[in-house]
Structures are given as structure tokens and as C-alpha cells.
Assembly symmetry: C7
Homo-oligomer: 98 residues x 7
């Protein structure tokens, strides 16, 4: 099954917690805080939402940081997703070419 978000909603899939420390060592696992990073899975069409014109600024595949207290957790086909309004996405995380 596929989730098709309405309006300015965005479907996110939380990233698994493989956090790279500054010196390059990868921590996989449990003793870390749950990161607020997620991958964009589906993006609503935007347009008039609650009387305001919204242009979508994220796209499928983007890695984003979202607001800790935002969003609805849903479970489809055994997979967990978070559905947020685009306004609850704080920033896109881009990889720098080193």
C-alpha cells in the first residue's frame, strides 16, 4: 500500500540511528538518543491549505530534520511512518562533498 498525503502533509520514515561522530567512527545502536532525522517518503500537492497558499519545498528522498513534538505516527503494512505538515520540517540535511 502507498500513502498519498493531502495538502501540505509530508510522509516521513525515521532514519535508523547510524550516527557518524566527527572523527568518522560510526555508532550503531541503542545508547543514543533517537535522532529527529527522517527521509521524505511522499509529499502532498500543497496549494491552498487552511486558506493559505503553500508551495512544497521538500521532495521524495530528502533527508530532513523535523520538530520533536510534531506529526502523527501511522503504521501501514507493518511499517511505521510519521506524517507531518511541511511547516514542521525545520531543515534539509545535505551531504557535503569533502
Amino acid at each position: 500500500m502507498k500513502l498519498v498525503p493531502l495538502g501540505d502533509r509530508v510522509v516521513l520514515k525515521q532514519c535508523e540511528a547510524e550516527e557518524t561522530t566527527k572523527s568518522g567512527i560510526i555508532l550503531a545502536g541503542s545508547a543514543q538518543e533517537k535522532p529527529q532525522e527522517a527521509k521524505v517518503v511522499a509529499v502532498g500537492p500543497g496549494g491552498m491549505v487552511d486558506g493559505k497558499e503553500v508551495t512544497m519545498q521538500v521532495k521524495e528522498g530528502d533527508k530532513v530534520i523535523y520538530s520533536k513534538y510534531a506529526g502523527n505516527e501511522v503504521k501501514v503494512d507493518g511499517e511505521e511512518y510519521i506524517i507531518v505538515k511541511q511547516n514542521d520540517i525545520l531543515a534539509i540535511v545535505e551531504n557535503e562533498s569533502n
Copy 2:
């Protein structure tokens, strides 16, 4: 009797909890959480709602995910329905052709 929703309201009928796990096994029953999936039964006309122009984006028969804390539960002819504002519908669930 038939419910004819006003404005941007949508009448939903909660889906029965037949959840398919990823590997295809169907779980029917009780030990699961109540899903937030519902089928659209009737759709209001939209138009000017609370001073804002609303276009309806769901239609009768759509399977949708709605916000956990939204909606009014009503009982008509012994059947339970949920009446939500379209804004409380997060996403349409589409079947993928595998």
C-alpha cells in the same frame, strides 16, 4: 438514513482491523491497536468554510488515514461513524499493483 455532511466535513467508517503483515499473514482480531484507517462514506460540498475556500480532495470510497484525536463519533441506525473535517485527513491509502 443517510448522513449529508456540511461544509468541509467528511463522514468516515472505521476499517475493520484486518492488517496484513509484511510477509502477507493476515491478523484478524483483538490484540492489535485500533488502526486509524477508515473508508470515506460521504463528503461535504466544501466551498467557503470559516471564511476560507476549501476544495474537497477525497471522494466516497477512498481509504484514508486520519488524525488520532480528531472527529466526532456518531451513531445512525445502529452503525458508528466518525465525522471529521477534511483537514484532519492525513493521507489517502492507495493499493499498489504488485
Copy 3:
């Protein structure tokens, strides 16, 4: 005496709890929950209400479902009424010709 509602207010008279079960048996009485069904008794003129243009969509005689926590209960000539804003009416209940 007659109640003439202002703006987008609607005067409702709660329906007596004669609920028909699916199989056609009528339950009259006490052990049931109070239904949120009501009959429209009088309808305000609509127009500019709180800076927003409101068109009235219900009419005298309509049977409606209204939001559980809405409305002001008033008593006129010993009869109880509920005065709601049209926005608190969720749906019109229509009889289907079977």
C-alpha cells in the same frame, strides 16, 4: 414566544430517543445514550459573522447531527432548546427511500 437567532446561529430541538436498530426494532426509552440528533427549529440570517461571510445551509425542519460539546441550552415557555452556530452542525440526516 418565538426565538429569532442572530447571525449564523441555529435553534435546535433535541429529538426524542426513538432509535431504530438495523433490524427495524424501535427502542424507546432510557437505557440508551442521548443521541446528538436534533430538529432545526429556526435559522439565523447568516451574512457577515465575525468578519466572515456565512451562507446558511440548513433550513427549518432539517434533522441534523451536531457536535457534542457545542451550543447553549435555553428554556423558553418551559421548552428546552439548543442554540448552536451552524459550524457546529456536522451533517444533515436524510431519510433514504428504501
Copy 4:
């Protein structure tokens, strides 16, 4: 002294509790609930109020029903009045010619 309300304010004088039962008997007195009926004593000019154009729809002498939790009680020359915004007036009570 005379109260001249500003904007969309309306000065009300609560009706004395002479409630006529359906069969025509007048109850005068104490064992009744305080009615929310009041007589309009003075009406503000309306116009731009809080950035919204308001047209006054009640006039001096109207008998009205107002919202239970609204209004400011004031005492002028030993008389008690209630000052409400017009928006807190639910309906005008009209006498029917029987």
C-alpha cells in the same frame, strides 16, 4: 446617568423571572433557575470593531437570550446591568400573536 456602549457592545438589563409555563400559569419567584433573558437597554454604534465591520442587529427594547458565560456586570446608580458584545447575543425572543 446613562450608559453609552462603545463598538459592538450592548447594555442589557436582566428580565425579572416571571416565567409563563406552557399552560399559562405565571411563576414568580425564587425556586426557578435564573433565566438568561434580558432586555436591551442601549446599543453601541457598531462599525469597525477589532478590524471587522459589525452591523448592529438588536435595538433598544428587544428581549434577547444571551450566552451564559458572557458579559461584564456593572452597577450604575444602584442598578445592575450586563454589557455584552453583540456576538454573545444568541437570539431575539419575539412574542407570537396567538
Copy 5:
């Protein structure tokens, strides 16, 4: 020193509690409730306030009734004043010529 209020603010000086009863006897003193009457001491220029055009409708010297829970108490040169927004002034109290 002089207070020059900004925007739609009004500086009030609470009236001393010389309340005249209906029969004309003046009560001066302590056993009474504190009246919400005040005299207008200074009036802001109005204009665009919080994105809304406000026209001032009270003037210096007016005796007004203001909302019980509104306003900021300030002390200038040992004198106490209340600064309210015009919207918190309910009515102007005018003397009737008897």
C-alpha cells in the same frame, strides 16, 4: 510628568467611590465594592494597531466603565493610573439632564 499613550491605549484614573443611590443619598466610603468607573486622562492616537485600523472613540475627561480584568496599573509621580486598550472600555457614562 505626563503619560502619552501609544496606539489604541487609554490612560484612566479610577473614580473615587462617591456613589449616588437612586434616591439621591451619597455614599462615601469603604463598605462598597470598588467601582469600575474611571475618568479618561489621556488617549492614544489610534491608527494601525496590530494590523487593524483603530479610531479612538473616547476623549479626555470622559467617564467610562472598563472591563474588570483589563489594563496595566502604573504609578507616576505617586499617582496611580490604569492603562487599557480602547477595546477594554465597555461604555461611556453620560449624565442625564433631569
Copy 6:
């Protein structure tokens, strides 16, 4: 260092509590309430703030009264300042020529 406020913010420096009583005696010190008087240290540019056009009405050097519960206290170079929105400034205090 210098604070350059954004939008409709105003940087204030609280006045020291040298309050002159009506008869001209200066009270310096501790047994008094903290006054809400402050001197304007820097003024934001105004303009579009939160979707509303704001014109700044105070200027550097003005002595003002501000709302008790408003503002952010900040410390720069060991000096304490209060940053408020212009809307939280109630009045300008002007010296009268006696």
C-alpha cells in the same frame, strides 16, 4: 557591543528607582516597588512584522512605561537590558514644563 533590534523590537534599559513624590522629595532606594519605567536604548526598523505593517513610534532616549509581563531580559557586556515588542510599550512619559 551594540544591540541592533529586529522588526518591531525595542531595547530598553530599566530606569533606576529615583522616584520623586508629589511634594518633590526624592526617594532613592530599596523599599519601593520596582518601577516599570525604562529608557529606550535602540529601536528596530519596523516594517512588515508577522504579516502586519508596523511603524515605530518610540525613539532612542524616550522614557517609557512597559507591560509588566512582557519582554526578554538579556545581558550584554555586564549590562542588563530588556527587549520588548513595541506593542508592549504602553505609554511615553514626558516631562511637563512647570
Copy 7:
């Protein structure tokens, strides 16, 4: 990795607490309050945000004071950042040439 803020968001990096007292002595360390000063690391594009046109007024490298209770703390590559809306930035801190 690089944070690219959306809309009117600004990515801040909290300044280390090297506070210079008025007489020029530098306090480095622990017994001080955490300052609300931060350096701007990245600035969103502004534009239509929540139905309002926002022009960004801070730029990368600015030293700013932000509102104590605002913002989301995020951790990227082991570094902590604060993401605020521009509206939560109170003032830019400029160095004076002495």
C-alpha cells in the same frame, strides 16, 4: 553534513561563554549563566511562510540574541545546533569600534 533551513528558519550555533566584563576582564567558564547569544550558521530563503511574506534580516556569521524559550535543539555530526524562526531572534549584536 550541512543543514539547509526551510522558510523563515535560521540555524544557530550557541556562542561559547567567554563574556567580557565592563572593565575588560574575560570570564571563561562555568559559574556563569548560559548566554542567549548565538552565531548564525545558515538562513532559510524566507518568502511566503504561513501565509505571510517574510524577508530574512539576518545573515550567516551574524552574532544574535534569541528568545530563551524558542527553538529546536538538533545534533548533526556530533555538533549541537538550535533552529529558530527568524521571529525568535531579538537583536543582532554588533561590535562597536572603540
